[in-house]
């Protein structure tokens, strides 16, 4: 076993051990470990030849597809740091992330060029765009290269050519929304990502024969790690683009004999709705997992019918450490509302405001300790300080998860609520401040306040309250229309209520608790 393993070492080892084994199935097309290794090497060599330096950032802005995998390992083999941007991201936020990360290369697709062309025009760090899809006419001065034009015929000896990274080097920036509005890049090192992949594989009880069905966006770390675990194990991943057409996912699942199904509550409620109309089963699945929001206990009986052979894993985590805890599947019936215990190799504490442990069954704030914890937020030291706490363990930072928890007498964790304002709509993180900023950017809007409203189907939905400048005749629909121009679709308020005045305190701060 190699010491100080880097993420890409897993691919190199898998390629040497079984080059013809299938690593990915994408819309029925099969790709081998040899394909992944060689295409990643092509990308890495190209980056290297174009002056990509160790530690440089490569931004990936592509929907779920084969090119995401080759781009991840391509950037890693070149000694770089990858970041995956949700393909639904619009121009302004894309421009922000590209500028914040100071990415030198963008790997993308013609299908989203209407968003990246204007974003790139505002950017000063990007040196080249590598893309798939129809030919893009040159715009501005930035070089454009097509994935298909990268052919260098690398061999396995080339793997060490491009980088002298060590495991403390960053491997990825994982952008996440926060309470302050601007997305932040969670810094993850090779060491933390390798450790986390191993811990996940261990508790999920996966092996080289696992076939992981993956249809949530790779920009979400839940999906990203399905790739990392697959390559770690020398297993296979089945890639879908979206759960919009579930029967398409089922067909892929059945054809590929997928054994692992990572979902979120909205996916499961859709499945249950479908099952109630016409029962069906997915018997090849032996592992089912849930994260992003609590899995309602009443879903579990139905999920056992749909997935009769699956172990069900309920879990909790945050991007800042990827995952915190999981419930052993054998306990799903007796501990249905718990999210279990710390993932292997890590520990958790529930502390009060003075950083002292609370008694069993008493509510406190969750703190997390382990090699999976982030290095910090990229170039945001103030915000990092709020999350990474010193002085509990000498010379060490532990992560404040910011959420409220209770631990029972047997050490089982129960999620009690967020202590920030983040809304979880359809399992996606929505920052009220980001939405409020979008509303404030509309001329005619005087005040805006955004809250989450509980919803049995979506978890929460996004609701906005707005007051207008005198003389403005903006309608709710027009306000939503302006939002979709700058926000991802899942962030757009489902309802916009126009009021004369928003409720305020004496010091003129909007009181959100008076809104519902």
């Amino acid at each position: 076993m190699k010491s100080g393993r880097l993420l890409q070492d897993d691919l190199t080892l898998a390629y040497r051990a079984h080059p013809e084994k299938i690593v990915a199935i994408v819309e029925g097309k099969e790709f081998s470990y040899a394909d992944l290794f060689k295409e990643s090497q092509n990308i890495a060599k190209h980056l290297f030849d174009r002056g990509f330096q160790r530690g440089d950032r490569g931004a990936i802005f592509i929907e779920n597809s084969w090119n995401v995998l080759t781009s991840i390992y391509g950037v890693l083999y070149a000694g770089g740091v990858f970041l995956i941007i949700n393909h639904l991201t619009k121009q302004d936020k894309l421009a922000y992330i590209l500028q914040d990360s100071e990415a030198s290369f963008l790997l993308s697709d013609t299908m989203v060029s209407r968003h990246f062309i204007p974003a790139v025009e505002q950017n000063s760090c990007l040196r080249e765009i590598i893309y798939a899809g129809d030919l893009i006419e040159p715009f501005g001065s930035i070089p454009l290269t097509r994935f298909d034009d990268l052919h260098f015929g690398a061999s396995s000896e080339d793997a060490s050519l491009f980088s002298d990274s060590i495991n403390l080097d960053l491997a990825a920036l994982i952008y996440t929304s926060g309470s302050t509005g601007d997305p932040k890049g969670v810094m993850m090192t090779h060491q933390s990502m390798v450790f986390t992949s191993d811990s996940l594989v261990e508790y999920l009880r996966l092996d080289a024969e696992s076939r992981i069905m993956c249809f949530l966006p790779f920009a979400f770390d839940y999906s990203l790690y399905q790739i990392l675990m697959t390559v770690r194990l020398g297993a296979s991943i089945v890639i879908g683009k979206s759960f919009a057409f579930p029967s398409q996912i089922f067909e892929q699942l059945r054809k590929s004999g997928a054994t692992v199904f990572p979902g979120v509550p909205t996916v499961y409620s859709t499945l249950i709705n479908m099952y109630e109309k016409t029962p069906f089963t997915l018997p090849t699945v032996t592992r089912l997992s849930n994260t992003a929001a609590a899995l309602p206990a009443k879903y579990i009986a139905m999920l056992k019918k749909i997935f009769p052979n699956a172990l069900i894993f309920t879990m909790y985590g945050l991007t800042e450490c990827k995952r915190v805890c999981y419930l052993e599947p054998e306990l799903i019936d007796t501990h249905a509302t718990s999210v279990g215990k710390a993932i292997p190799g890590t520990e958790v504490m529930v502390l009060d405001q003075d950083m002292n442990p609370v008694a069993a069954n008493q509510e406190g704030t969750l703190y997390v300790r382990g090699a999976h914890v982030m290095r910090g937020y990229w170039k945001k030291p103030e915000q990092t300080k709020q999350m990474l706490v010193a002085n509990i363990f000498p010379g060490e930072f532990i992560l404040c998860a910011q959420d409220r928890f209770v631990m029972d007498g047997d050490g089982f964790l129960y999620f009690k609520g967020r202590s920030d304002d983040i809304i979880k709509a359809r399992g996606e993180k929505v920052s009220p401040v980001e939405v409020e900023n979008a509303l404030y950017s509309i001329s005619g809007v005087r005040e805006a306040a955004v809250i989450g409203v509980p919803d049995p189907f979506e978890g929460e939905y996004v609701k906005a309250f707005v007051s207008l400048e005198p003389g403005s005749d903006l309608s709710s629909r027009q306000l939503r229309q302006r939002c979709i121009a700058v926000l991802e679709s899942f962030m757009v308020p489902k309802e916009v209520v126009i009021m004369d005045e928003l409720p305020k305190t004496d010091s003129n701060k909007v009181t959100k608790r008076d809104l519902s």
């Binding site: 929907e63 683009k241 979206s242 919009a244 057409f245 996916v267 679709s489």
Partner: protein, 82 residues
């Protein structure tokens, strides 16, 4: 233009593109590829077909071939009305 097409385009434009500009949506634009509908959107589209266009959609008919663009939805409605 057929009544059903008018109603369908209006539904998609108003609820997912938040515009009345007809140019924002071509009849063969893929909802999926253009990020116009996500999984919730597809369910809402199905409710719309069932409630407003008297077309029921069975579970196994929820496929991109049947529903992934204005033209495909119209063709699907046609086959169901015979």
């Amino acid at each position: 233009m057929d009544e059903k097409k008018i109603a369908l385009r209006k539904f998609v434009l108003e609820n997912y593109l938040f515009t009345e500009d007809e140019g924002a949506l071509k009849d063969d634009d893929s909802f999926l590829d253009n990020g116009i509908l996500d999984s919730m959107g597809v369910l809402e589209l199905i409710s719309f077909l069932e409630e407003e266009l008297s077309t029921s959609v069975e579970g196994d008919e929820v496929t991109p071939d049947n529903l992934d663009s204005i033209n495909k939805v119209l063709a699907f409605i046609e086959t169901r009305s015979h």
